[in-house]
Symmetry: C2
Subunit: 361 residues, 2 copies
């Protein structure tokens, strides 16, 4: 009970340790009877193989690292948490384990990180999340050491994706496009937008979706578009800038939920009723999104699924199955809650609205 080894199992099953190893690793050469005998011994001894020994002698470590750039205890961290949960689930299913590493916001000592990951831990793969997943230095180092990596919501769009790892994402363009259309369907035309972090590709894609949905390539009133960094605080000034205009937008679409919450907060302080006088929408469907007042209309990404897929990819790849895609795109879905509604004075801004709703394309 204390600590059974493979030797104990071999003795009990009356086979060699190599055969035990084969059975445990699902290798082909083993007769059904032998297999059964070994499994029985394993069960009776309550045997669990040692990860260290397996890692030391074999080529797999059964370890996956999730690297994020922590530091800011922002609400958006829940994104990481959920991704992590998905990854852990997939790990457990595959006999793997998840290591979590943070790298300090400003720190760029990627060398040490990579060395630790590759040399010390010998992880079988690394899951990178924004903005780390778009750092060329980190990616280069990782690639140089031959690390398998999966990038969640990466910047590069397949084309230039020079074996910097596999990507996982949703269609940010479509998500933003659809949300914008949702607002337009409700009658909004004066829709403000708060941009995401300029270094993060999802930000650009979301903005493009918004622009195309609203203006369809036409002229763009820049006053409607304000800069943000995906964080709550970064969106406060943007929201103010939008809401203090004489002709205030009837809706604000923030590039993510954290920033949408900032809009809610500013509106609250300015005494602007939501959704009465202002509709607000975001993207991400953070757990907090359904908890704020009013609950936020947003776009849900299957974050847990994505985390699980990332881990599974690494597991399969290490096991020899090579996926030949560069990127997997997950479905998103509109979650309409109470923060959006038709604008108060439907035709008041008619002069500004477009003649007709452009077609989807």
């Amino acid at each position: 009970m204390s600590k059974a080894t493979i030797y104990d199992v071999a003795r009990v099953a009356n086979v060699s340790i190599k055969t035990v190893s084969r059975v445990l690793n699902g290798e082909p050469k083993a007769s059904p009877e032998t297999r059964a005998r070994v499994m029985e011994a394993v069960r009776s001894l309550n045997y669990t193989p040692s990860l260290s020994a397996r890692a030391l002698s074999g080529s797999r470590s059964f370890l996956i690292a999730l690297v994020s750039s922590g530091g800011v205890s922002d609400n958006a961290m829940l994104y990481v948490t959920e991704l992590q949960m998905g990854a852990i689930q997939a790990c457990r299913a595959g006999g793997y384990h998840l290591l979590t590493e943070y790298i300090d916001g400003g720190a760029t000592d990627f060398g040490a990180l990579v060395e630790t990951l590759v040399s010390t831990l010998r992880v079988d793969g690394v899951i990178l999340i924004p903005p780390l997943c778009d750092d060329p230095k980190l990616l280069a180092l990782l690639a140089e050491r031959g690390a398998t990596c999966v990038r969640v919501s990466p910047t590069l769009d397949g084309t230039a994706d020079q074996n910097w790892g596999w990507g996982i994402d949703i269609d940010n363009y479509q998500a933003a496009f659809q949300m914008t259309r949702h607002l337009m369907d409700q009658g909004h035309r004066d829709i403000g937008f708060i941009q995401g972090h300029p270094k993060h590709a999802a930000a650009a894609q979301r903005e493009a979706g918004y622009r195309d949905a609203l203006f369809d390539g036409g002229p763009i009133p820049e006053r409607l578009i304000q800069p943000g960094l995906f964080t709550f605080n970064s969106a406060l000034p943007a929201a103010r800038a939008l809401l203090e205009q004489k002709r205030r937008p009837t809706a604000i679409f923030a590039a993510n939920d954290s920033m949408a919450m900032a809009v809610l907060s500013v509106a609250y302080k300015m005494g602007i009723p939501v959704p009465g006088a202002l509709s607000v929408a975001g993207i991400d469907d953070l757990p907090a999104a359904s908890v704020v007042c009013p609950p936020l209309t947003t776009v849900r990404q299957p974050i847990m699924e994505m985390g699980a897929a990332a881990a599974r990819f690494i597991i399969n790849r290490t096991a020899g199955q090579v996926g030949n895609y560069l990127k997997q795109v997950f479905d998103h879905s509109l979650v309409v809650r109470e923060s959006t509604s038709p604008p108060a004075e439907p035709a008041a801004h008619a002069a500004f609205s477009l003649a007709a709703t452009p077609d989807f394309r």
Copy 2:
């Protein structure tokens, strides 16, 4: 560059591998010059020891597991995330690594979990968070296998703390007591309370703090106390029950922030202005607490610190230093934001309020 081993270092430094090992592990027997020579070789080769090899041959694995019972993607998960960040920081400082394991909400197959932790991973310690840290079965299994464990915010109060591991907490009683007094200082007497999860000791302690502060052992109008489970959803009915009373409380103190947010949400839907007609307070200072409208008055716990302390304890303990305390209590602090203010009609409820503010004790 590719993968230096201890042999390479030994060769370059012109010493035996054992000496390299000694230097790297800070063992005493090594002259300063030798030490310097070895370190130089390590640097020049960019050497990093293999964790697996160390774990396999030595008695430490340099791994710490953080076990939480995931599943619900509640806002309160940020608590876990922050704890994790603290733990990771401490790990990095000590050359350790943090593994995160979730156990499904309902699952009680602790046997397999413990086996994995102890046998497969051979972690040097386990950090347990509520409600897992209070599960007797899990604790017994862990103790049986001799695992070092640190329980965050555990139930047992030192006394009965039968070597079930070290504990980390804040003084929940005082935190609740002080928050209640804060509300009373503002003039509130009719203060509702939403209880935490009955299986979690912090819940009981917080309730005791509230009761003692408000009633000082006197009669307790039970209508003021409603059950909750620490989750947002669980507090919705409680908040409704409190706010639909003819004589509505002028303040509601929820046993944690998630539930306080539920109060905010219900008040919003009922059209009760906060803090105008109702003050709301919580405990935890979740990141979301400062983001909701209005920002929540709450009690901050140094969660990251606590996570770091937990990891450090395990690291030190494994290194031989035995801490002889059973529990470490961290300081908390009141964070007064905008969700609390003096009640609208100061003396309206005088008939119900206590004659005088009882003394602190």
